[in-house]
């Protein structure tokens, strides 16, 4: 029993953090919002080179996984840096393909997802697919099974302008009649929880830095108790979401992952509300970078399972702890 990140996991997080800090992700996000995917694709392949997507792909398909705990470590960093793109969707697609009864589609599609040459999006039951205009592999769960969609429809904007919502074109090659959707959902929720935790941590860090230097009434606003206590509450919420995330990565039990998803997303969203409030009017502007994280915290909350769906999942299992 050592429920702490080990030195290798910490080193992985640190190297990803350093790489993303140097990459100036806010400008990549702004390109992505305009539908200009060049800088995003370049960043994608660097993220893949560090091994992030390979963690979701089994070794048999030229990946290094499955390693959910390391994947969670990586996705916290992607969230902290507001990296755009179908990150979670690529993980979900990889998990889905890897578990198909027929190994042929996995053999054909997974190696390029692991290496970062390809990215994937995934639409369940007619829902929008994220970034279908940028993803190279578009998977759609249709009435008769899993299909490789031939294209996408018009882009709809999301509350997070960096998330481009795209319907997928019906038809395309049938890959599997009964794909293991529940398994993919667990991976998608884990990755979303990690990304949301990262978003929340970034919002807290930025807000702490801001209230330390912004002065009003002759003192830093961070010295006011009302301000401090809101930030303390954000800290508590995020610090208690963290062990749920890593605990879920160790068990991969659907109820544990759902608990991590709802908790991390609610913590990130509450932190976003606090961050906006404590920045005052500047926080309410699109050109100030804080908005990139604020919008994502809202969008992740309902992606891959609403809070109510996740809570219902927590109570669905009959099995007790111990």
């Amino acid at each position: 029993m050592r429920f702490l990140l080990d030195p290798q996991q910490r080193a992985f997080a640190d190297s990803l953090d350093a790489m993303l800090t140097a990459a100036d992700t806010p400008s990549v996000v702004r390109d992505w919002i305009r539908g200009d995917h060049g800088s995003g694709r370049a960043l994608w392949s660097r993220i893949a080179k560090v091994g992030v997507f390979a963690l979701a792909v089994p070794e048999a398909y030229e990946g290094m996984g499955p390693h959910p705990a390391e994947l969670a470590v990586g996705f916290v960093e992607l969230g902290r840096h507001a990296v755009p793109g179908p990150l979670v969707e690529t993980v979900a697609a990889a998990a889905l393909l890897a578990e198909l009864a027929d190994p042929v589609p996995a053999g054909r599609l997974l190696p390029s997802l692991a290496s970062g040459e390809a990215s994937a999006t995934l639409a369940l039951d007619g829902a929008y697919a994220l970034d279908g205009d940028a993803a190279t592999t578009r998977l759609a769960l249709a009435a008769d099974g899993l299909r490789l969609a031939p294209g996408h429809g018009p882009v709809r904007t999301s509350l997070d302008p960096a998330r481009r919502l795209t319907p997928l074109t019906p038809g395309g090659e049938l890959l599997a009649a009964a794909p293991p959707v529940a398994h993919a959902l667990v991976w998608a929720r884990l990755a979303t929880a990690a990304q949301a935790l990262g978003v929340g941590l970034a919002l807290l860090d930025r807000t702490v830095a801001y209230v330390r230097q912004r002065t009003q009434f002759g003192v830093p606003v961070g010295s006011f108790q009302a301000v401090k206590h809101r930030l303390a509450d954000a800290k508590i919420a995020l610090e208690f979401a963290r062990p749920l995330l890593f605990g879920a990565a160790l068990t991969m039990a659907p109820a544990d992952v759902a608990a991590a998803k709802v908790t991390a997303c609610e913590a990130a969203y509450a932190t976003a509300r606090t961050a906006l409030q404590l920045h005052g009017a500047i926080g309410y502007t699109a050109e100030y970078d804080l908005s990139l994280w604020l919008a994502k915290a809202r969008a992740l909350r309902t992606a891959w399972g609403t809070p109510a769906e996740c809570r219902a999942e927590v109570l669905s299992g009959g099995a007790r702890r111990r």
Binding site: M1, R2, F3, L4, L5, D6, Q9, A69, L204, V208, V211, R212, V219, P220, G222, S223, F224, Q225, V227, K228, H229, L231, A232, D233, K235, I236, E239, F240, A241, R242, P243, L244, F246, G247, L250, T251, D256, A259, V262, T263, P307, A308, R311, A312, V314, L315, R320, R321, R322
Partner: protein
């Protein structure tokens, strides 16, 4: 990173479970906030101690099992899952004992710990005073030097279970007029039945005498009952406060067991269409798990040689607010039956309401989090 227990730890869990199954009283003891209940709980402490289950984390010489923090957590999980009684000795075991391990003498440990482990001597914490609550350092009770010891005078208040306890520990001002209020304080232990001590029980919210005020009029305490250096009591006390908020005051086992009971109640009583209540039950389950895993992470840090610093404040705010939400959910599930004041849930509810007040109020904890964990500037208090 892993959550698996070693075979030896699993064996320890099995041993605890077997013992508890054979010994936990089949019908609940009367409330320990009553005279009768207090006496019954002492008997239970003695039974625990007879088989060395009362203080598993202490060294064997003092009646423990030398269990590390993980085993302590495992024991607590089993203890609460078995529905075992509340611990009447908890102030001594969780607050005074760690202080004696860190700052006491060999002689003090040998004299005090065995009778504490067996429930023969139950200890009360006498820190707060009428004018010294959150601002504890402003306390004014005095310790005046006399031949072979000290004479204590003043008033302490809100002292949990002091109405029926035997002895107490607290801080006294031994050097009046120091430049800073934290200086010149001495940490002393005294007998609640010594000449010059008057204990007046105070009814808590539901009227039960759960705490008391203690009046001291030239109460003699021998030198051997000073903990640490005279005048250096603040430092000693703060290490105790860290223990209180950090790991030992509320084990996750208690909340895991309560969340399990809540789910049972929900399955038995809930209207399936009430999704708002369902969400609160789910949050109770999630909160217990979060607290368990957070504590396992802290325990890991501890095993690796770390200490519990200001992070303890995260714990304290979390469990105290969680405890209230859990009990409010149970009372709402009970509907009109939730009004009844003599169920386990109502007893737990009344108890939970004090959580954000004692062991350092949650406002004070949030200040600590903001200043010491987030690095925000100190403001005017």
């Amino acid at each position: 990173m892993d959550l698996t227990l070693s075979p030896a730890d699993e064996a320890f869990r099995a041993e605890a479970r077997t013992w508890l199954a054979a010994h936990v009283p089949p019908t609940p003891l009367p409330s320990l906030e009553t005279e009768e209940g207090f006496a019954a709980h002492r008997v239970w402490e003695a039974e625990l101690a007879a088989d060395r289950w009362s203080v598993v984390s202490w060294p064997e010489v003092y009646g423990g099992r030398g269990a590390d923090i993980v085993r302590w957590l495992v024991f607590e999980e089993e203890y609460h899952a078995a529905g075992a009684p509340g611990r009447v000795g908890q102030n001594g075991i969780n607050l005074l004992a760690p202080t004696l391990f860190d700052h006491g003498t060999e002689e003090q440990r040998a004299r005090i710990l065995p009778s504490m482990a067996g429930g023969e001597v139950v200890w009360a914490q006498a820190w707060s005073e009428p004018e010294a609550g959150s601002d504890l350092a402003s306390l004014t009770s005095r310790a005046v030097r006399t031949a072979g010891g000290w004479l204590l005078s003043g008033q302490k208040t809100w002292s949990s279970r002091a109405a029926f306890a035997d002895r107490a520990f607290g801080l006294f001002r031994s050097e009046p007029g120091t430049p800073r209020p934290h200086q010149g304080l001495t940490y002393l232990m005294f007998d609640l039945r010594a000449p010059g001590v008057t204990v007046r029980p105070i009814g808590r919210l539901d009227g039960r005498p759960a705490f008391a005020e203690v009046f001291l009029d030239e109460v003699f305490v021998p030198d051997e009952d000073v903990i640490g250096e005279p005048g250096g009591g603040w430092r000693v006390a703060m290490s105790t406060a860290g223990n209180e908020r950090g790991l030992t005051l509320r084990s996750p086992g208690r909340f895991l067991a309560a969340a399990d009971r809540l789910v049972d109640l929900w399955r038995a009583r809930a209207d399936p269409s009430d999704t708002a209540l369902r969400d609160r039950v789910a949050d109770a389950v999630i909160g217990a798990r979060a607290y368990q895993l957070f504590t396992y992470a802290n325990a890991s840090r501890f095993l690796d040689g770390g200490t519990i610093g200001p992070e303890a404040s995260l714990n304290k705010v979390f469990w105290s607010e969680y405890d209230i939400a859990l009990h409010e959910t149970a009372l709402d599930l009970l509907g009109p039956d939730g009004e009844s004041a003599d169920t386990d849930w109502s007893e737990g509810y009344v108890f939970s309401l004090a959580g954000p007040i004692y062991a350092g109020t949650n406002e004070i904890q949030r200040d600590i989090i903001a200043e010491r964990l987030l690095g925000l500037p100190k403001g005017r208090r």
